[in-house]
């Protein structure tokens, strides 16, 4: 809180609280990493320890060799990349159209679409599964990717951002005889880069972390994504704390790294898009 009077206590208090907050926030994650390298049984010993007595990577070895979690890693990677690819393309096209292409009923259609954001995704799940069955897409990666190939939130994000593109720029290009597609590819896309990065990271994160739909659609354990494989593991190995923690680390680490690498763009994209009404 802003204070008019500078006191020595004030900066200390603020920063101490921040450190405390950070410690509380990070504690479970730090413990997760620490427990994943503890020898078997140590994480569930009493009194509970924070620091491993010695570091062992046997649980990671176990995950990759005995429990094929490497395959789940690959599945997650393939799915997240595919969804990101498709959704960035589809959502940016639609978002741009809603922002910059003038056609009758544009605003009304957009508002209608916005309403859809309130609908919980679980409602669609059961019939969607039956639909996938009739399309022969149960237990396929395509079946997981298709429903996420475009989304209302993504379109919303791009549209908000695209509104800031000056009309004059586009109209000048039109006067020059450029087709709409050319305008989009050559002029608009480069300008949309920041929001596309945000969207890309958002979709990658979302797909990587998605649990329910892959759980329902994929019946082959060779195709399980990491969250599903992890939940599977809990069913059988709940007693093996360290193994479960290693599995969690494996699941969380890639997206954490991705986020750390792209956080500035990601956060800017959220705040820019989220606050314009």
């Amino acid at each position: 809180m802003r204070r008019g009077v500078k006191r020595l206590a004030a900066p200390f208090a603020v920063n101490a609280l921040l450190v405390l907050g950070a410690a509380l926030t990070l504690a479970p994650l730090v413990w997760m990493v620490s427990a994943s390298v503890m020898p078997t049984g140590e994480a569930s010993s009493f009194p509970p320890g924070f620091i491993p007595s010695r570091i062992t990577f046997e649980h990671y070895r176990d995950l990759f060799q005995r429990l094929s979690l490497g395959r789940a890693f690959g599945s997650s990677l393939l799915l997240a990349s595919s969804v990101t690819f498709c959704s960035v393309i589809l959502n940016s096209m639609a978002g741009y159209a809603f922002a910059k292409l003038r056609f009758p009923g544009r605003e009304r259609l957009f508002r209608l679409l916005l309403l859809g954001m309130v609908i919980p995704v679980q409602i669609a799940m059961l019939p969607l599964f039956l639909l996938m069955r009739s399309l022969g897409l149960v237990n396929t990666y395509l079946g997981v990717v298709l429903p996420s190939a475009a989304g209302i939130f993504g379109i919303f994000l791009v549209r908000q951002f695209a509104r800031s593109i000056p009309d004059e720029l586009l109209d000048a290009a039109r006067v020059d005889g450029a087709s709409e597609w050319l305008i989009y590819r050559r002029l608009v896309l480069p300008l949309l880069k920041p929001v596309l990065v945000t969207l890309g990271v958002f979709m990658f994160l979302g797909t990587w972390n998605d649990f329910l739909w892959p759980l329902v659609v994929l019946t082959d354990d060779t195709k399980y994504t990491l969250p599903v494989a992890l939940a599977n593991l809990v069913g059988e190995h709940a007693q093996d704390t360290e193994l479960m923690m290693a599995g969690s680390v494996l699941t969380v680490l890639p997206v954490l790294l991705l986020f750390l690498g792209l956080q500035r763009a990601y956060i800017e994209g959220i705040t820019a898009g989220g606050l314009k009404e």
Binding site: L18, F46, P104, P120, I267
Partner: protein, 300 residues
């Protein structure tokens, strides 16, 4: 919304069709259509017998919905979901706002680092985190009870005691989600001109008064956004109870989404499952409208 200054050409409209078609096709075909189908399902008693032989499915009108209203398990799930939202949403807002105020304070150092730290839980996979917290909440070996006993408080059987299990999940949800809202609040705070605070200080207003008179009102749009997104999100609570408690103990962490999953996918009572999903939708809609009215109405 801006008013168009010039009308578009037919060529533009045709292009719009082309641009919109793929995205809208996916949304209509894989989202809106299933929702309509879900509604149809909810007025039948489609279940395992119908799966074997479709003639075993009967159109039953609103009887699924009526049965839900008198089903104690459903009412428990409804209650749990409401409690979760009513506890979790405000708690997340308070924690996020406090964190944002701290990070944004003039006296704070290493703002980027703290902002990233607070956001880290948001990007973690929920299932992985739920697994970790299952152990954090362990009555004997868990971190949380260790911390509590260190400062003299009694240990709690977080996931095993019906009185505390839902609270445990609320805490997990707050931990996981507050970072996102913090970012939004920080952006909102930065949008408040410093001159307003200067003027207030010159008028002799103290810190708390500045907060109440300047910060809160000007943060209202952000509050609305944060509040709404949290509410909509929390109503759909599923993965945490699925991984950590399976809805127990004593159904105290059974949420509507989890119940829908159990009915629909575990027992294949799809008619009932669809009805639950629609009731959930209805509740979310009503809650969102109420929240919208309340928060918008508050800013006069």
């Amino acid at each position: 919304m801006r008013v168009e200054t010039r009308r578009g050409t037919p060529a533009e409209a045709r292009a719009a069709l082309f641009f919109l078609a793929p995205g809208l096709f996916v949304i209509v075909f894989f989202f809106l259509l299933p929702i309509a189908a879900s509604f149809l399902l909810s007025v039948t008693d489609f279940d395992l017998y119908a799966l074997a032989d479709p003639s075993n499915a009967r159109v039953t009108g609103v009887s699924n919905y009526r049965a839900l209203l008198s089903d104690p398990v459903f009412l428990t799930a409804l209650k749990n979901t409401l409690v979760f939202v009513l506890l979790g949403s405000p708690l997340t807002v308070i924690v996020a706002l406090s964190a944002a105020l701290l990070v944004n304070a003039r006296l704070a150092r290493a703002k980027g680092f703290f902002r990233t730290t607070f956001f880290a839980p948001v990007v973690t996979t929920l299932v992985a985190v739920a697994v970790v917290f299952r152990y954090v909440y362990h009555p004997r070996f868990g971190l949380l009870n260790r911390g509590l006993t260190l400062i003299g408080l009694p240990a709690v059987d977080w996931l095993g005691d019906p009185r505390f299990a839902l609270l445990a999940i609320v805490l997990l949800a707050v931990w996981k989600n507050f970072g996102f809202s913090t970012i939004l609040f920080v952006a909102g705070l930065q949008g408040i001109p410093e001159s307003l605070y200067e003027a207030a200080r010159l008028d002799g207003a103290g810190g708390w008064q500045q907060f109440r008179r300047i910060t809160l009102p000007l943060l209202a749009p952000t509050m609305l956004l944060v509040g709404l997104t949290r509410t909509i999100d929390y109503f759909q609570l599923f993965a945490e109870p699925y991984v950590m408690t399976s809805g127990g103990p004593l159904n105290s962490t059974l949420t509507m989404a989890l119940l829908m999953y159990k009915e629909g996918f575990r027992f294949w009572n799809m008619g009932r499952g669809a009805a639950i999903a629609f009731v959930l939708f209805g509740v979310i809609l009503v809650a969102t409208l109420i929240q919208f009215r309340l928060q918008k109405g508050g800013e006069t």
